[in-house]
């Protein structure tokens, strides 16, 4: 049958999120802008996903994210090839797959978009992991460009005044680093404006994620994994504010019209850790097949989780605390507190934990979080062992059995919350 004669699945079509198209346009324009920066005279900075991007925006530097690129490489199923190339260069297979993919990709301009634009400088913030330090040092040597390292002490139990002073001092150095390498004075008023847009963007992102507190949820974590790209890459721009305003309106309409992400939402689950980029569709369909919607996740909510510490009227001053207290830079007890709160906010029936071979700081402590959530919320959890970008660490039949068994367990009423809707 010719494809244009295929019957239209009206219900499926209705469930499609319309803003996806706009998002793809924005991301394409962003990458074109970045890749043609040398022609347009703009500077490009590579920056870690949890790094303070606002000063770059304020200086008209285009931020580029090797981690966003790593996710794209994973989703394009090009991770294994690049990881193997990095291993042939001498990097251990235990190293983060984003790091391996990025290091290999830089040498051959490979991957789904023919490599990232050459950086003029590198900005590395270790609030997400320690691997980034060596990774960015390798790239700084490879490209022969300056590297700025922002060291954010780990928040074990509390954020100390000494830590705050230490990070604030580095932020001042960060601004002078930018002045030196951009050859112009830093405009603090502009930073205030960028900061205002950054906070506005984060608020909107949080509001978008919050729409899934509605039952049935209008979107799932799998959708959030996609729509996340903007708050990560272009935080502090009007584009982000406009886009999430649109997306929020679409989600609110879906709630009003009863359009759900999963056709028959019976179970609401919370996801922990990064997505399995090369298997998001398989996982989404697997869970949806059981009537389960992943209503929220600890990963995408990290890009609005530190908002309580941001002060719009003193953006520069409050950045130190906000960038130090992101989810992955917290001790296990603090992380568990946040997961427990999310279980309650999103009325989750179960927790799905991705033990991510690539991301050690995110995966460390997951057994404890599992136990704490079980004790405090009384909900069961499932651990899936995989990797965000290196597909060699994904075993389909083993993961399928675990998910099927977990859903059978929920369906037999193990959890008091797991009852069919309504």
């Amino acid at each position: 049958m010719p494809s244009d004669l295929k019957p239209v699945d009206a219900a499926k079509d209705r469930r499609k999120i319309k803003s996806v198209r706009r998002m793809k346009e924005i991301m394409t324009a962003y990458y074109i802008d970045a890749k043609t920066a040398s022609d347009t005279g703009k500077k490009v900075a590579w920056i870690t996903s949890g790094g303070p991007v606002e000063p770059l925006i304020a200086m008209d530097v285009i931020p580029v994210y090797p981690e966003n690129h790593g996710a794209m490489i994973g989703a394009a199923k090009m991770g294994v090839d690049l990881c193997e190339k990095a291993e042939a260069m001498g990097y251990a297979s235990d190293l983060c797959a984003y790091a391996r993919a990025d290091i290999a990709c830089a040498t051959e301009d490979g991957g789904p978009i023919g490599g990232l634009p050459r950086p003029d400088m590198l900005i590395c913030c270790n609030n997400i992991c320690g691997t980034v330090l060596k990774w960015y040092e390798v790239q700084a040597r490879y490209f022969g460009v300056p590297l700025f390292i922002l060291d954010t002490p780990f928040t074990h139990t509390e954020y100390s005044p000494a830590a705050n002073q230490y990070v604030r001092a580095q932020l001042v150095e960060y601004l002078s680093f930018l002045e030196t390498h951009c050859g112009k004075a830093f405009d603090r008023d502009r930073l205030t404006e960028v900061g205002r847009l950054s906070v506005a963007g984060q608020k909107l992102w949080q509001a978008v994620l919050h729409t899934t507190t509605h039952r049935p949820a209008p979107m799932s974590a799998f959708d959030a994994f996609f729509h996340l790209a903007l708050i990560v890459t272009l935080r502090g721009t009007q584009t982000v504010v406009d886009y999430y305003t649109e997306l929020l309106a679409e989600m609110e309409t879906r709630v009003a019209e009863g359009i759900s992400a999963v056709p028959e939402e019976r179970f609401r689950l919370l996801w922990d850790n990064l997505p399995v980029w090369y298997r998001t569709r398989w996982l989404a369909e697997k869970f949806a097949g059981h009537g389960a919607c992943l209503v929220a996740d600890t990963y995408t909510s990290s890009w609005c989780g530190a908002m309580p510490y941001l002060d719009e009227s003193d953006f520069l001053g409050s950045m130190a605390e906000a960038y130090s207290r992101i989810y992955i830079n917290l001790g296990t007890d603090l992380m568990a507190d946040m997961v427990v709160e999310m279980v309650s906010t999103y009325r989750a029936d179960g927790l799905v934990i991705h033990s991510n071979r690539s991301c050690k700081p995110y995966s460390l402590g997951q057994y404890d979080i599992q136990r704490i959530v079980q004790e405090r919320c009384g909900i069961p959890s499932l651990m899936i062992e995989a990797d965000m970008t290196d597909a060699r660490n994904f075993s389909e039949s083993q993961i399928e059995t675990r998910i099927d068994a977990f859903m059978e367990m929920l369906a037999t009423g193990c959890s008091p919350r797991s009852r069919p809707f309504p």
Binding site: T401, M409, C414
Partner: protein, 256 residues
């Protein structure tokens, strides 16, 4: 009503027929390369063994890794749910089930109401599974069926510390080269499996009565190693290997 459970695992395919809560019979065959074929073959072998015609069989439930490839089945249910149902049928008081199959091991915690509270499965590595024992048997040139009895004759179990099957095999080979007694090596292998599986079971809640199911339960050495590590008696039913198939048949009959 007769119901049948077909458990197609990575090494063997098992089938069991139940009628009104009574086991009519069971069959075990090697799975081979085609899970669908193995499911059908073991189903036919079961019918022949029990002496019933296919049209007398009511619900058929498939389980195990090949569960979605069994075309005669009406439904597929995971081995976790089936082993829990089978174990509870054999002892309604059971609170924890350890199932060691060909390619994975699992611990299942049960509540008093016959429901699964939690479960854990081994990670992607094969250590602590039937396949691990097969590899070791080959390295030691010992028939796997003799493993259990030989290990009971150990005077000083060897230490096998590797968590990986391939590395553990190298360890075993170096122990052989050093002239270590086979009995001690085998007992060491069982201990390493016991330690690994009990650690996993503790995550979901090790509790008495504890039952071991799956083909590896026929190895007395592993059972003893589990008892030692768990500090609890381990129950093993004569139907341990077909326990998953029994559970599947019970689920088919609406009794699981």
């Amino acid at each position: 009503m007769i119901s049948v459970g077909i458990d197609v695992g990575s090494i063997s395919a098992k089938a069991a027929a139940m009628e009104d809560g009574r086991l009519l019979g069971s069959r075990v065959l090697l799975t081979g390369y085609n899970a669908g074929k193995a499911g059908r073959a073991v189903f036919e072998a079961l019918l022949a063994a029990v002496g019933i015609a296919a049209d007398r069989v009511g619900p058929i439930v498939a389980t195990g890794y090949g569960r979605n490839s069994v075309d005669v089945a009406h439904k597929a249910v995971t081995e976790i749910t089936c082993h829990a149902a089978g174990a509870q049928f054999q002892n309604p008081a059971v609170r924890c089930v350890i199932d060691i199959g060909g390619q994975d091991s699992k611990a299942i915690a049960l509540d008093g109401g016959g429901r699964i509270k939690d479960f854990a499965m081994n990670d992607k590595c094969a250590a602590g599974t039937g396949r691990f024992l097969e590899v070791m048997a080959r390295a030691l040139e010992v028939d796997l069926d003799a493993f259990g009895d030989l290990s009971l004759a150990a005077d000083q179990p060897a230490a096998i510390s590797s968590l990986c099957t391939v590395f553990a095999e190298s360890e075993v080979i170096s122990l052989i080269a050093k002239g270590e007694r086979r009995e001690n090596i085998i007992a060491g292998i069982h201990r390493s499996i016991g330690a690994r599986v009990v650690a996993m079971a503790k995550r979901v809640g090790l509790a008495d009565p504890l039952m071991m199911t799956g083909g590896v339960a026929m190895n007395i050495g592993v059972v003893k190693a589990l008892e030692e590590k768990a500090g609890l008696p381990v129950q093993v039913s004569p139907y341990a290997q077909v326990n998953g198939a029994i559970g599947a048949a019970l689920i088919g009959a609406g009794m699981g």
